[in-house]
Symmetry: C2
């Protein structure tokens, strides 16, 4: 391609809303443009990068036995109603009606669509397993679109779905897909970690995010210092170490306590550390049940763990009036008296002689001990892990990381096949069974953006070979006709040899050519100058590796 003919010139400046280098360069270099917020055009340069990324994904998915297909973008809403996911997904579903009034969902994920297809076939055990996948535009009506294509409202996604006769067969394939994902991201030069995470609105029991460490990422996760443990904050676990096991249990008493309502206020009032207190919160579930939830004062509640424990999609804090009606006061709720379902974190057994409220205004209960003075209906892990917490095997401490989730794999179990009628296969036992499923996503635009964020410097982008829009950027220095002619012949020779080359044939200064080449960041640069032409040599500069060498011209056109 001759640069003079390329659609999408580089520009000098971008809007001040663009906060990251990678995004700035993608826009300035003419790779992408925003349409409405969170929806992007890919210009020819960006398209070439995306095509290369898709090819890598496709090759590896095919190697793993997955079969490419495609489903419509407009999903009949009735499929989503079968699983009730119309109510449970965490992103806003976009919906549209056709002229006859039929409702459709703009697909944000396609489990229902794939099951609706697969159940059209009479499957027997020997037709399983199989995995089908597609590249398709997905829609998520995010409240805020930010970070360019890192969190877009419309984006290309590779989504795969596997169908199995048994849990064991699924588990082996899940492992195979995990390895496939590592191969994909390795080929794309993205160092990923597989992070255990919560399934959320996907149904099923477990999943793994593929995460690239980066401060722009929205995935916060915990890794053990010895590297043996890695989990998303939503599910990360840790040991509740005993804080004061040498203390004797003291007699329970009630004391006047004209303190503020927060844990910090209690710390100041008593001059004791936060772990001495029990923090009790009344939540209301989506079925309007009030639940009393207690945790050690120095820990934060993990509401997602709590939701899963309670089997609900949403939780809200009870209001002041609701708490009063239950017989207590905000700031003075205790796990001792309220006659509602009680949930407690594992940490409630890690302290002797807790201080907690007394369910009366400005009164606390002192020397409260779990087991002796109260128990809860469910004692479970509902705390948020943080840096410094000890791993469950007691061998290491947790550190916090932040990263970009470029892919994910989900166990779905029989969540969909049990909810959708006819989603079954004929077993060897002559009976019909729901199939066991998994699903596997990669955000293509997000992957592209992550490469751009990871591989850029103060001058521009630095594409790895796997995703560079062209392999070579050819530059001729000066206006010497012989040099220009030499470069032109070289361009044509390389093109004939099947290389992908961007030839800067513009009549601009060498400075402009070099700074644009730095901005575009094509993996390798070839420079032709008068001196080099005379020696029949060229300069080869690897933008990615930042290495320069002079070589024989012939190496490129053979």
């Amino acid at each position: 391609m001759r640069l003079s003919q390329l659609f999408g010139k580089s520009i000098r400046a971008v809007s001040s809303e663009v906060k990251s280098k990678g995004l700035e360069y993608l826009i300035r270099g003419g790779f992408i443009r925003e349409s409405s917020a969170g929806r992007f055009y890919l210009l020819p340069l960006g398209m070439r990068v995306q095509d290369k990324i898709c090819r890598v994904i496709e090759e590896e998915m095919n190697s793993a036995g997955a079969q490419k297909m495609s489903a419509p973008i407009l999903h009949p809403r009735e499929h989503w109603e079968e699983t009730s996911r119309t109510a449970s997904v965490s992103f806003e579903l976009m919906q549209v009606k056709d002229r006859s009034g039929r409702s459709f969902v703009l697909g944000g994920t396609a489990e229902e669509m794939m099951v609706a297809l697969v159940r059209q076939f009479s499957l027997s055990a020997k037709d399983l397993p199989f995995c089908i996948y597609q590249f398709s535009t997905k829609f998520r009506d995010e409240l805020r679109a930010r970070g360019g294509m890192l969190r877009a409202r419309e984006f290309l996604m590779k989504d795969g779905y596997s169908f199995h006769a048994s849990k064991e067969d699924f588990e082996a394939y899940y492992q195979q897909m995990s390895e496939c994902y590592f191969r994909i991201f390795n080929r794309l030069d993205l160092p990923v970690r597989s992070v255990a995470a919560d399934n959320g609105y996907m149904g099923g029991d477990y999943c793994h995010e593929f995460v690239v460490d980066h401060p722009l990422g929205e995935s916060r996760y915990l890794v053990s210092e010895d590297g043996s443990y890695c989990a998303h904050e939503d599910i990360a676990t840790f040991i509740r170490e005993h804080m004061n096991s040498s203390e004797q249990e003291l007699p329970i008493t009630v004391a006047h306590a004209a303190r503020g309502l927060s844990v910090q206020a209690g710390v100041e009032h008593y001059g004791q550390p936060a772990w001495r207190q029990i923090k009790s919160i009344v939540y209301v579930t989506d079925t309007e049940e009030a639940v009393l939830v207690s945790i050690r004062g120095d820990l934060e509640m993990n509401e997602l763990k709590l939701q899963r424990l309670l089997g609900c999609n949403q939780l809200r804090l009870a209001g002041e009036d609701e708490i009063r009606a239950l017989g207590s006061f905000v700031g003075f709720v205790s796990p001792l008296k309220l006659k509602i379902r009680r949930v407690g974190d594992l940490s409630l057994t890690s302290v002797r002689n807790f201080c907690t409220g007394a369910d009366e205004w400005h009164k606390d209960t002192l020397n409260v001990n779990y087991g002796r003075d109260f128990v809860v209906d469910i004692l479970a892990d509902i705390a948020l892990a943080k840096a410094g917490d000890v791993t469950v095997d007691s061998k290491s401490k947790l550190a916090e990381r932040r990263g970009i989730e470029v892919g994910n794999i989900f166990q779905l179990g029989t969540w969909y096949s049990e909810r959708m009628k006819g989603a079954e296969f004929m077993g060897a036992d002559g009976r019909k069974h729901p199939y066991y499923m998994g699903c596997y996503g990669i955000g293509v635009g997000r992957t592209l953006s992550t490469v751009a964020e990871l591989y850029s410097d103060e001058k521009g982008l630095r594409w790895p070979e796997a995703s560079t829009p062209f392999s070579f950027h050819l530059i001729a220095i000066g206006n010497d006709a012989k040099v220009l002619d030499y470069a032109d012949k070289m361009y044509q020779g390389m093109m004939s040899a099947g290389r992908t080359v961007l030839f800067d044939d513009r009549d601009v200064s060498a400075g402009v050519k070099f700074s644009d080449a730095d901005l575009l960041g094509i993996a390798q640069r070839i420079v032709v100058s008068k001196r080099l032409v005379e020696q029949n040599r060229v300069e080869l500069y690897s933008r990615f590796h930042e290495r320069k060498e002079e070589i024989e011209r012939g190496s490129f056109v053979s």
Copy 2:
């Protein structure tokens, strides 16, 4: 690919709503499945065909200098409002609002989106011309979806857009694109004709449809018997031959006429041919103007020509009361008296002594002659051409054809760039000018379906090499372990050599294997049997060419 692992088994029967062989085989063979009406899944076999078709289109578009990119599927509605096409497109636009209430159009064509992108760049004359294109899902809320993917509501389309500094530059490129389209369809073994047609809601002045002759097609067009003329019925022209030039003009008279209201009733009443009559119709435009339109009795009105002539998007027939209010009667309207704008077809000058109504009930006017007794405000071509009409050059007669429109190219002129603010370039004269545009579409799903319809017989599909999902279909006959092993090794050898092979490894009879092979229609079939193995030979059968030969095995794995 081993057939036992392929997702999408062949089935025996399809719904009785499926009316064409190609569609039936695509469904039975496991290439496609319908989701909601007019929206399709592509199963792995269909996906492979589509990918091959896309690759041919992409290669040829790139050769023609076009650059691939992509635009969002959700178009901000305000872009469509700039051109007022929200009101003028002939298909129903699907629209959706996001959570913040912003309106989007589900793209059915992307001129506005592309101009909205291109105008973000400051272009000068030397940045022109360029052509950008995408493959993207398009939405058209058709009243009736029929013929499978021939007229779908959601479909993949290749749409390209070119931008030029001058009409001359555009015209040269339009010609180049036309040649590019012929190359694409030739490579896909689709015999296409380029048919001049009406631009309709696209703006601009002319366009060409690329049409494959087929009875399932919805494009009706006229070709001259000498092959020199070819045009869509919407615009086809012809000579109005003089019907009775030897007659003398007779004195005009009014006669009682207790006849029915149609032309046919007039024919019966007078015992004279239909061409003796003038048919006059009152239309009402979309600005509520009543227009009197007259044509020779034996010709049909071409309402599209009339709309273009009047510059309106819609026309309706005036009601009985409206005609009464204007001073006439349905069935007795004449071009002689009504005081509204009058339009006439060229044929009004081709007859002497017409018979027409008298704008009174049961009264006709006889011996009416154009020029002597009346004239119209606009005399133009507003008739529908039909088989047997004489071409404008008087040298040939027209024949009617019906075909499937697989692609189209449009001159758009400055229609969009004049309506959309800032859609301009800096000319060599230092002034800003709107750019001159063209657009170029190919319906990918429709192309796939057309190949299937064109190349099928009573047993199934017959894919040409350019679009066959696999190059070879490998079949082993019988259960002899040596034969199966031979086939398996051959399969692996061919795969290693980079061939695409579907290997029927199922434990089913030879009859089932052959009938499935006929149904799937993979271009070439390789049959391995005991006799052939002993001779180290295989049978090669071209399903496309219906030719069979026996050859050395080695030819396939070298």
